[in-house]
């Protein structure tokens, strides 16, 4: 399944993804019009200050099996054929059972233009179904300028990351050998001895 892949080490916390996400989930889907909508559109991902990184984007991982789906008493949470876990605002009853089950704390509760009569419904990343159908990347990925959010198969990203890491390790192993010849003879001999 193609998902949004988060690489927190690249995130600079510019929040453009949040803006793009909120616009994508607005009624008009236009920034200028979206900010004046009756129901203020909300972003479905959050950027926290990180501990080791500058910022940490936190969003739904579309778990399989999804704990939120298993505990939803309203049957509002389902998995789309493409694999993304989605919440139907029509069926959601704002009971917060999903917040109790989600191990990543990605849910928010807010009103949404799709169900304007409700005080609040559970919101989380739905991986932009309309864009998915059209073969486009989710709005947050399109907005990310630093490659912290990418869209693809996670296995491939993991492979790429592994390869990059291996190359970095080899590069660092090769680097001292090239400089070895320039070391003073005494040090070279001492190293051979130890």
């Amino acid at each position: 399944m193609k998902t949004v892949i988060v690489q927190p080490e690249r995130c600079v916390g510019c929040l453009q993804c949040r803006l793009a996400c909120a616009v994508e989930h607005s009624r008009t889907m236009e920034l200028a019009a979206a900010i004046r909508e009756q129901v203020i559109p909300r972003a479905r991902l959050r950027i926290y200050p990180g501990r080791q990184h500058l910022a940490f984007p936190n969003k739904c991982r579309h778990c399989e099996p999804a704990p939120c789906q298993q505990v939803c008493i309203a049957g509002a949470i389902s998995r789309r054929p493409q694999g993304a876990v989605d919440i139907d605002p029509e069926r959601c009853i704002n009971c917060a059972m999903c917040a109790m089950a989600c191990p990543f704390g990605v849910l928010t509760y807010a009103p949404v233009h799709l169900a304007p009569e409700k005080r609040a419904v559970a919101l989380k990343c739905d991986q932009c179904p309309e864009r998915e159908a059209a073969g486009r990347s989710p709005a947050c990925v399109e907005a990310c300028k630093v490659g912290a959010l990418t869209y693809g198969e996670w296995q491939e990203t993991q492979q790429d990351k592994g390869r990059a890491l291996a190359q970095a390790v080899f590069a660092s192993m090769q680097a001292p050998q090239e400089t070895a010849s320039s070391l003073p003879a005494t040090i070279r001999v001492w190293r051979q001895l130890s």
Binding site: P8, R46, I47, Y48, P49, G50, R51, Q52, H53, A55, F56, N58, P67, Q70, V71, I73, A74, G75, E90, R91, I93, N94, C95, A96, M97, A99, M100, A101, C102, P103, F104, G105, L107, T108, Y109, K118, R119, A120
Partner: protein
């Protein structure tokens, strides 16, 4: 292999789906005394308040049973289980043989044995039929008394207010949500109830219901008060449905005893859900935890094991989510843990009506109460459920600004 499941709600359906995944060829029969297709019981209070519509309570698609190739016997009550003969006898007289049986018969409301509890204006709320009776019999604009201030009682009381009733809430203990929240969170809730016009009577029990010409007139309380009311709803907890099991020696007041594989004393009979006595995940002691997430998890374990897997259910972690007009409370674990080396962390923000209470024992999280901001509840429950030593985590949940970024970022 012929699998038979008694009960077609959270545990029964979870088990059936798991069975189908493990055994694509097996015959699976679901027996339910409910004439309706599977529906969500927790949604009944939302149905009452109008937050959900009747067409939203159905849990599955109309062609669910055909799609999963389950044989459904709806509206048929199992009245006897013959463990030696491997048979289930139904009320209609029919006999269903089984190779492996799952009992997921759920629980029924407990009705205090007081005079007048069989009157027409006396209700419980557990089944769709209960809701239909209550919905039709509710004195719109009249007075309603709710006995029991647990999650169901509170939600129902709030629903009655929405429908224009004057509501009295009666609770035996000294506060609402006893054993689920303590002091400060209870105070917040009491204040909210007062604001919504719900009159709360604590430290008292119902003594009897008086009637006039067959209609409920008042509810007499142990403290001498007499509440004028036209209807009484009892939300005083549930008791496991095990009456039909008397001949198998499996019936017990506290629920059917099972091992970690959800297997009963009879090797071919499994049990899951609200009819089971499970083990408290944190104390390891037997506990009755009739909650939806536990029922689903137990059903899945039982289903897989019935098909030949070897899975263990680690125990139930009590957890409840109460949402009243956007006022959210999530609570779980042990509210009042016992023993030595306890630590409590409380944070209260009266301005934004947010409250957080964490209970620790031996450096491990054992209790949680969140009011207002509940989004991170699942993270705490993960830490609690896995009994992680809090000191070894990347970020200490006791910190005032604990958030996912501190933990993983």
């Amino acid at each position: 292999m012929h699998y038979v499941i008694i009960g077609a709600s959270a545990a029964g359906l979870a088990a059936a789906e798991m069975l189908r995944q493990w055994d694509p060829a097996g015959a699976i029969t679901l027996i339910s005394d409910e004439p309706h297709p599977p529906y969500s019981r927790p949604l009944l209070t939302y149905l009452l308040s109008g937050e959900a519509r009747l067409d939203q309570v159905w849990l599955k698609a109309p062609d669910y049973f055909e799609q999963w190739r389950f044989e459904a016997r709806l509206g048929e009550r199992a009245v006897q289980v013959d463990a030696a003969g491997h048979e289930v006898r139904l009320q209609s007289g029919r006999v269903v043989p089984y190779d492996r049986l799952l009992i997921a018969s759920g629980a029924s409301p407990r009705l205090p044995a007081i005079p007048g509890n069989n009157l027409e204006g006396v209700f419980t709320l557990r089944t769709l039929a209960d809701w239909q009776r209550l919905d039709a019999g509710l004195p719109e604009g009249g007075r309603v008394a709710v006995v029991g201030a647990g999650p169901v009682g509170l939600k129902a009381a709030e629903a009655f207010v929405r429908r224009g009733c004057r509501v009295s809430l009666v609770e035996m203990e000294s506060q609402v949500l006893p054993r689920l929240v303590e002091g400060q969170a209870a105070d917040l809730l009491h204040r909210a109830l007062e604001e919504w016009g719900i009159e709360v009577f604590c430290n008292t029990a119902p003594l009897g219901i008086t009637a006039q010409q067959g209609r409920v007139r008042s509810l007499a309380l142990a403290d001498g008060r007499e509440l004028p009311t036209q209807a009484v709803l009892f939300a005083t907890g549930v008791t496991p449905n095990t009456a039909f099991l008397t001949e198998t020696a499996l019936a017990a007041a506290g629920g059917i005893a099972v091992n970690a594989r959800m297997q009963t004393a009879h090797p071919d009979i499994y049990a899951a859900g609200d009819c089971v006595q499970s083990v408290h995940l944190l104390t390891g002691k037997p506990a009755y935890v009739p909650i939806w997430p536990a029922a689903v998890a137990q059903g899945q374990v039982a289903g897989a094991n019935m098909a030949g897997a070897h899975r263990c259910y680690p125990g139930a972690l009590p957890q409840n989510s109460i949402s009243l007009r956007g006022f959210k409370i999530i609570t779980g674990g042990l509210v009042q843990p016992e023993g030595a080396d306890l630590e409590f962390v409380t944070e209260f923000d009266p301005h934004r009506v947010r409250y957080r209470r964490l209970a620790y024992k031996n450096g491990r999280l054992v209790g949680l109460t969140l009011v207002g901001r509940v989004e991170d509840a699942g993270i705490y429950f993960q830490i609690m459920g896995q009994q992680l030593p809090v000191g070894d985590l990347a970020a200490d949940p006791r910190g005032p600004d604990f958030h996912p970024g501190r933990l993983w970022g």
